[in-house]
């Protein structure tokens, strides 16, 4: 294993060791996605019963929206909360004086985000199939691309949140939980972009998730892969990640100038 890979693994090992001895933490990862699936699953079952001719389509669009949005949420939280764990344990000082490069720190947080998302969303996917007969895999092989695009958006938002935590300290912690909920109304999760007022549509189209959900609806309603939306989603992801990485590095450097790295949690 190369030095860089080993340092990334070291960071992952620290979090895996934490989860290994704390089942409530593992349970918490699954709790909200499963709860969301239960609530939306029953809403969908009721709506599908009221509209028999479009029952399976309605179910697919709503449940697909719930599951894919959870991927975005869990990906963002998985990254940001793994960083916050270092602040809560007052361990950042040791992390930053180890030869761990900032990009290796980000790689470790991304890896933890993928693991946390898989553990969190997996049971909800299973539940959707067992209780409501909806298999997310009906979206086809493009599902992997949808997942990737949404997770990348989650990482971009999390990098931005982490940058704000570096700038404002623990006071910015609440953003780690709440920031993506604020984007949900504009991300076309449960309805198409065209439903939004005209002046809001450009805002929505600048969000990578909007294109993924438009693509998901194209797959479920028309049975086609909307490559144009996928291309937009990945293109926007690159822009978002680039901006977030710039913000993170700028705030990391500013924290080194201010001397904030040792007392960031205070």
């Amino acid at each position: 294993m190369s030095g860089a890979a080993r340092r990334v693994w070291g960071l992952m090992y620290r979090h895996l060791a934490l989860y290994r001895r704390s089942w409530p933490r593992v349970l918490e990862l699954m709790y909200w996605p499963v709860l969301q699936m239960l609530v939306w699953g029953f809403v969908t079952a009721w709506l599908a019963g009221a509209q028999n001719n479009t029952a399976s389509v309605t179910a697919g669009v709503l449940l697909g929206g719930v599951l894919l949005w959870e991927v975005t949420l869990r990906s963002q939280m998985g990254f940001a909360i793994s960083f916050l764990e270092e602040i809560w344990s007052r361990n950042l000082g040791h992390i930053f004086v180890a030869p761990l490069r900032p990009h290796e720190l980000v790689a470790g947080l991304v890896a933890m985000s993928i693991l946390r998302t898989a553990i969190g969303v997996g049971p909800a996917v299973l539940l959707a199939f067992l209780l409501y007969g909806f298999g997310i895999w009906t979206l086809g092989p493009a599902l992997v691309l949808y997942f990737t695009a949404l997770m990348a958006m989650g990482w971009a938002v999390a990098l931005g949140v982490t940058a704000l935590i570096l700038r404002h300290g623990a006071g910015a912690e609440a953003l780690a939980w709440g920031v993506l909920f604020g984007l949900a109304p504009f991300s076309a999760v449960f309805y198409p972009v065209s439903v939004l007022p005209g002046w809001l549509q450009p805002v929505s189209l600048a969000i990578p998730a909007s294109h993924v959900f438009e693509g998901m609806r194209a797959a479920l309603l028309e049975g086609r892969i909307a490559w144009d939306h996928l291309a937009y989603a990945f293109g926007l992801d690159l822009i978002w990640l680039g901006l977030a990485a710039w913000l993170f590095m700028a705030q990391f450097q500013a924290a080194r100038v201010r001397g904030a790295l040792l007392n960031i949690g205070e």
């Binding site: 070291g10 620290r14 060791a17 704390s22 344990s89 000082g93 490069r101 080194r256 001397g259």
Partner: protein, 248 residues
């Protein structure tokens, strides 16, 4: 001739333009294999200096070379060869001692990590509580674990902030012996910041006396005591802190 462990030139840190500098133009060169101490009252600039040596803080002016690496441009190469311990920076308290040491063995890319951890556990008497969460340890045990972490990569430069703070005299003495042995065996350099004058007298071959972010005097503990005409370093410290005396 080996490179100095630390070379600071005009090292300055100003947090706000309107405030006086926390550290103002420090110049010193600590030889490899030596033990030096930073001594000064609260706000004298010890922690700021250590943070700059570790690359945690960017100097406003001046330059730091650590083990031949410029900390402004090549700090990760230096960080791999040094380490740091402070009672004010914790280790994850839910992880066991062994897990914590494994994390840092990976972060420092330590070869044969298991053997190294076993060796440190034996030497620092951690064997009995390797599987206990770090948060459940006594203050003395935590200090020993923190020192084990700081030795995990066999550092050539060890920066210690208050290494024996909150330890009973017996454990403090034990830690000091351990540090002396480590330096003698490996030829590592140690820079410590401490308020414990007896500790500094025992461990340090050279003392930098800081006040208001400046080096106001320096020398071996014996030289300083003799120059100030005092009985011990604590009296020298008080003279300097209160501005009551100056070396002859």
């Amino acid at each position: 001739m080996p490179l100095p462990a630390i070379e600071a030139q005009g090292l300055t840190k100003t947090y706000k333009d309107s405030d006086p500098p926390a550290v103002a133009g420090l110049d010193f060169s600590q030889p490899a294999g030596s033990t030096w101490a930073l001594l000064g009252g609260n706000g004298a600039g010890k922690s700021t200096t250590i943070a700059m040596l570790l690359g945690l803080l960017v100097p406003s002016a001046g330059r730091v070379m650590v083990l031949g690496h410029d900390m402004a441009r090549d700090r990760f190469a230096a960080l791999a060869r040094m380490n740091f311990s402070s009672p004010y920076v914790a280790l994850p308290h839910r992880l066991t001692v062994a897990e914590n040491l494994h994390v840092y063995a990976h972060l420092y890319n330590v070869p044969k990590a298991k053997e190294r951890i076993a060796e440190l556990a034996e030497r620092l008497q951690l064997t009995g509580f390797l599987d206990r969460p770090a948060g459940q340890l006594s203050a003395g045990q935590k200090t020993r674990v923190a020192i084990a972490k700081s030795l995990i990569n066999r550092p050539e430069l060890l920066l210690l902030d208050e290494p024996t703070a909150s330890l009973d005299p017996d454990t403090g003495d034990w830690v000091r012996s351990l540090l002396e042995d480590y330096r003698a065996e490996t030829g590592a350099a140690i820079l410590l910041a401490s308020h414990n004058m007896a500790e500094v007298e025992r461990l340090a071959g050279h003392v930098l006396m800081l006040k208001g972010g400046r080096i106001v005097d320096q020398g071996s503990p014996a030289d300083l005591i003799a120059r100030y005409g005092r009985d011990d370093l604590e009296q020298v410290f008080l003279d300097i802190a209160r501005g009551q005396g100056r070396a002859a």
